[in-house]
């Protein structure tokens, strides 16, 4: 019965010029249930959310019902009025305003054109109380942690009397304990009869919090099931249409005896202390630990972004000073950062120019001009080697999909033939199919003699991809493990705040 559902979508399609983003999709959400929406990148999750919230209008022929009544949204305000609130990854709040202002903005509490501040504050307090969270309402939002800001976003949805809150990758930037707090809130919402549509790449979280789930693949509906009736393997199977496990790629190591980079006793105040390690030719070194343990910061030091206060870095046996990224690049170090959108690529540039920005030294004539002909053939080779699609080097990078952008980032650095490749969360936000591809690529590069350091929070990734694992905790190196003998449990023993500590030579 349609009335059993708060929101009911039937046969929803959405066509963009040349692409069918959604094809006859259905989604049914019961009141007070946590519903997971799953699918690989490009499966149509975001498009579906945008249809639900009135950003996009669906094609003719579909049906959207709220509490059994057919609805049509012309804009976002209409969907909010009907009780559908979306919390996007970047939250869309105002960091310079106070918590109270953030909660109430858009609500019209005025008398004769004058804002009623007291009522604002009252409402803010009540809303936060409903969620059982304590956040000072006069604090500037920007001063709060991301996790707390997210709670404000949820409270805001409550203030607007949301009946369904859509959370797009809400745990992406949260630590484990913060995720627990979020889940507590979600359970509370559930008790109040509010539905949550939960979107996440992390299946363990999906399993932990959701009641039911719907899987999309390539814009089509694959199925809806109660979470209690499926296993993680089955979900993956539904998402990719085939069974994929992490393939163990590190049975044999390609490491030679030649040390490419050696770091000795480097420290950076407030980030990490007394870190020493080395990486050999052909070796993949993994660095793991909880978020905030200082892993990314160590990578940044090696790439000249965060020069250490003390300690030494050797490359090929030479002591080097890395004061800026240009120094690192000159010494043959490449860095693939976690955030493609803001850190890796100039989105308005075409592929040529992005490749050029890294590799221009090789295309510079004696007079200092760029040799575009040579560059073009290299970009073409790179796109072919990395299988970037579509293979149009003149296309702006922003017009490529996320997975292809990641390939361009890795590709532009590989074109510079680096000695040492640093990769931060190589498969973050990447679908499972591409994940395996990227892993295989990294193994191949190692086999060809490159030294690679991979930072990852995903233990499975570290265990199946790397040769050697360093565990960091609170800015310190606490353990060195061999990937073939390590287990998830063993890594966690060291990574957790009160964990063990192994002396490292």
């Amino acid at each position: 019965m349609a009335q059993d559902y708060f929101l009911s979508l039937e046969n929803i399609s959405k066509t963009f010029p040349g692409v069918k983003a959604l094809d006859q999709v259905q989604l049914h959400i019961r009141p007070g249930e946590v519903h997971a929406l799953l699918g690989e990148n490009g499966a149509g999750k975001s498009t579906l959310i945008k249809v639900m919230s009135g950003v996009y209008k669906p094609d003719e022929g579909g049906r959207m019902e709220i509490c059994g009544e057919p609805v049509k949204f012309n804009d976002i305000n209409e969907s909010i009025q009907k009780g559908v609130s979306v919390i996007y990854q970047d939250l869309c709040l105002f960091p310079n305003l106070t918590v109270a202002e953030n909660l109430c903005i858009g609500k019209d509490i005025s008398r004769k054109g004058w804002i009623q501040w007291k009522e604002y504050d009252q409402m803010a307090k009540e809303t936060l109380k409903r969620l059982n969270v304590e956040i000072p309402i006069y604090e500037k939002l920007g001063n709060l942690s991301i996790a707390r800001q997210q709670l404000v976003a949820i409270a805001r949805a409550i203030a607007f009397e949301a009946r369904l809150i859509v959370m797009d990758e809400p745990t992406a930037s949260l630590s484990r304990s913060e995720v627990e707090v979020l889940f507590e809130i979600i359970r509370k919402l559930k008790k109040d009869g509010i539905s949550v549509l939960f979107i996440s790449h992390k299946l363990d979280e999906v399993m932990a919090i959701s009641d039911r789930m719907t899987v999309l693949r390539d814009g089509t509906f694959v199925g809806s099931k109660p979470v209690s009736e499926v296993t993680e393997q089955e979900i993956i199977h539904m998402m990719v249409g085939r069974n994929i496990e992490y393939i163990k790629l590190n049975e044999t190591s390609n490491a030679t005896e030649r040390v490419v980079a050696e770091v000795s006793h480097i420290s950076k105040k407030g980030h990490f202390k007394d870190i020493s390690f080395s990486v050999k030719e052909g070796e993949i070194l993994g660095i793991t630990g909880l978020v905030g343990a200082g892993r990314t910061e160590v990578m940044k030091s090696l790439f000249g972004l965060l020069p250490p206060d003390e300690g030494k870095i050797w490359l090929d046996g030479n002591l080097v000073q890395l004061k800026g990224t240009q120094d690192a690049k000159r010494h043959g170090i490449s860095f693939v950062p976690e955030d493609r959108q803001t850190e890796s690529l100039v989105m308005e540039f075409d592929v040529h120019d992005n490749v050029n920005l890294v590799n221009y030294e090789r295309f510079r004539s004696k007079l200092g001009f760029l040799n575009r002909k040579k560059l073009m053939s290299m970009t073409g080779d790179m796109m072919e080697q990395m299988d970037v699609r579509p293979r149009v080097p003149e296309r702006k990078v922003r017009e490529f999909s996320g997975g292809n952008q990641q390939k361009i980032v890795i590709g532009k650095w590989l074109s510079s033939n680096p000695k040492l490749l640093l990769v931060d969360e190589p498969t973050y936000g990447v679908d499972i199919g591409s994940k395996i591809e990227i892993h295989k690529l990294l193994r191949r590069l190692a086999a060809e003699g490159m030294a690679i350091i991979v930072v990852s929070s995903e233990l499975q990734e570290v265990l199946t991809l790397t040769d050697r694992i360093l565990v960091m905790r609170k800015g310190r190196l606490v353990a060195e493990l061999h990937a073939n003998s390590a287990t998830q449990e063993k890594i966690m023993e060291y990574a957790l705040p009160q964990g063990k500590r192994e002396e490292i030579k």
């Binding site: 850190e343 075409d350 920005l357 760029l370």
Partner: protein, 314 residues
């Protein structure tokens, strides 16, 4: 560069040209056209520097003060006994130095360029006041007047200079790694840094060149008016921003080209010259120029994609 934009600007230019030619019989004369290019050159040279700083998501409000101080430095050292070429070189070095300081502060301290360059311009004007006590200084040797008043092959010397600078700027931005970095930093400084670009150096270079070009404009102007004054370029500063933006330079950085800015400069110069010929009072002129600017800026920002150095598919 997007064709639609160039077409818009060229059409505007052609339309103005045709209208003024019909409305005034003097407009199309060779003498008048050359005088337009002469006028263009001075603020055109400054506009190229301004465009550069806007390309790296900044702005340079020091150009007029650098212009004035450069001319004052030149005449001062000349009076102190330095020969003319050395004096000009000293002046240009001073301009370079001023640009370097501005660039250093903008790039290293991260102070908003609008604020910092405004403060720096007051500083430079202050120095000018101390040196010249607010007076116009004259007494340049005859040879000094060549750049602002002389001709080569019947074309004003400063027109040659301006053309050379536009071409140079075009070549540098389009065909060298430095140009690529300027656009990259303007578009996304973080991605540029993560690609191994020394962002602070790139930002500094924009301000240094802007300072130098303002100095060059100072030489040209003091040569034309035969005196050094601290307020030499003051009427041009806002025009420079207007010309750059009119020419499709995105105020948020990363987009724009010397060709666009050149067209912007041409349109503004032609407009004020033509309106004079048609007999429009200078008060109404300002109004008309304002309306034109607002119109073009609105069209640029909303209806048509702005200038972009990169090509797009389809």
């Amino acid at each position: 560069m997007k064709k639609s934009n160039t077409i818009l600007l060229v059409a505007l230019l052609a339309g103005l040209g045709i209208y003024f030619s019909i409305a005034s019989k003097y407009f199309l004369s060779l003498g008048n056209l050359l005088s337009i290019t002469e006028h263009m050159a001075e603020f055109g040279i400054m506009s190229m520097g301004m465009m550069l700083t806007i390309l790296v998501s900044g702005i340079d409000l020091t150009v007029s003060s650098v212009c004035g101080l450069t001319s004052i430095v030149i005449i001062s050292v000349m009076k102190a006994g330095l020969p003319m070429p050395a004096a000009i070189l000293t002046g240009l070095c001073a301009a370079l130095l001023m640009g370097s300081f501005t660039g250093l502060f903008v790039a290293k301290l991260g102070v908003p360029p609008m604020l910092l360059t405004l403060a720096m311009s007051m500083l430079f004007t202050g120095i000018s006041y101390v040196i010249c006590e607010g007076n116009a200084l004259s007494g340049f040797p005859e040879a000094y007047y060549f750049l602002g008043q002389g001709e080569v092959l019947g074309i004003p010397a400063q027109t040659w200079l301006f053309t050379a600078i536009v071409v140079l700027m075009f070549v540098l931005l389009r065909f060298t790694p430095w140009g690529l970095k300027i656009y990259a930093v303007g578009n996304n400084p973080k991605a540029a840094q993560y690609s191994g670009t020394a962002v602070t150096k790139v930002v500094m270079s924009a301000y240094i060149i802007s300072g130098l070009l303002a100095g060059v404009a100072g030489v040209v102007m003091s040569s034309r008016v035969a005196s050094a004054r601290l307020d030499l370029g003051s009427s041009y500063q806002t025009n420079c921003i207007a010309a750059a933006v009119l020419g499709g330079t995105s105020i948020s950085g990363g987009e724009g080209s010397p060709v666009g800015t050149f067209l912007g400069v041409t349109i503004l110069s032609m407009l004020s010259n033509g309106l004079n010929h048609v007999g429009v009072s200078s008060f109404i002129q300002q109004l008309i120029i304002g309306v034109t600017l607002v119109t073009v800026v609105i069209i640029n920002s909303n209806l048509l994609p702005t200038f972009s150095r990169t090509k797009t598919a389809n």
